[in-house]
Subunit: 208 residues, 2 copies
């Protein structure tokens, strides 16, 4: 069953169970999905209001983009769990002969790459989320400004959690070119997200 | 229906809708619930392992405490939405006579206090979550260290989001004694949570 069909409570019970997946990677993706939903909500509470007439077009765009983003984050929840389970499968491959050992190592390395690329995808989307949440803070319905601010916080925690999941997998990846490329992308994304989030929160906190 | 029985997807659709509740306050509580679940998971992946024998007792305690904490955070999700809806109800009270106006103002002030006290409760629990997540980072199964780190990140984003929801309500509360007391509790809790989270993340990031 896709996680998105689970109840909030069942999901948490599954999360807390002694199976390592779902874990932090899926949680990161769900944080992103909640953030995108909050931006959609703020946009919905802004469109059609005379006071925010000048932001009408951008709010309609936010609504549409963030509804789509929410579904993409939700898909990443499942993808993250599946990537982890594929790695566990590769680890359980037979290793009796030299041939088998080689095949197992190859399968494990491929699975590790996938397990790094899924949270990388989450992280990339967090930058988009942070930018959109900043717009919601700046131009959205002022009555919902703390909701837009919460979306900024989620972009930040989701990004950080996703980065941990990329980096922990990179530690076991032998392909240095692959690892270095991802590592430098992680760094520049975290920096860009941090800048956006801090700017947005500053503007919010001045009004609290 | 309690939110905890909703599917992840339905919850997000409801969150993104143009009704202001559920909003950031419920999201803050759910972040706390995910954090508590991750600490439970790390503890479960630690108990019974020879390598972590010396931490057995504390991990069993973490497991029990965090399962309970998860349910408390889940209840706070509903409480937050209900508090907001109660405030909307108070706002819709009649205000035709002086008597009615007085009653409406009183009801609104009481509802605002409740709407500030619920996220305050979330915030208080976040300090407990941060402390437990730090233990999970330091002494839990090293294979799940990024999950424990994610719990720290969630304690931080949940706390910050909850604080916004306290502060925004305090702005309309006339009872200065009440407002000042909560404001100073918010400040000291955020400081204590920040210290704990930064310490835990530092220890985690050194190993990434």
């Amino acid at each position: 069953m896709s996680m998105k069909e689970m109840s909030l409570r069942s999901f948490l019970v599954e999360l807390a169970s002694d199976s390592p997946a779902p874990g932090g990677g899926s949680v990161a993706a769900f944080d992103g999905a909640m953030g995108a939903s909050l931006v959609s909500m703020v946009a919905r509470l802004t469109v059609g209001k005379e006071k925010y007439k000048e932001h009408q077009a951008i709010m309609e765009e936010l609504m549409k983009d963030c509804d789509k983003m929410r579904d993409e984050f939700l898909d990443l929840m499942d993808k993250d769990s599946n990537a982890f389970n594929d790695f566990m499968k590769a680890m359980r491959l037979p290793k009796n002969t030299e041939e088998e050992k080689k095949e197992r190592t190859f399968a494990m390395q491929e699975a590790l790459k996938k397990a790094a690329l899924v949270p990388m995808e989450t992280l990339r989307r967090c930058l988009d989320l942070a930018k959109k949440a900043e717009i919601a803070v700046e131009r959205g319905n002022v009555n919902a400004v703390t909701d837009a601010g919460t979306a900024l916080l989620l972009a930040s925690s989701s990004a950080k959690a996703a980065s941990y999941n990329v980096l922990i997998n990179l530690k076991s990846i032998k392909d240095e070119g692959f690892a270095n490329q991802l590592k430098s992308e992680v760094e520049s994304l975290l920096k860009a997200i941090d800048d956006t989030v801090l700017r947005g929160l500053k503007s919010l906190e001045e009004n609290l």
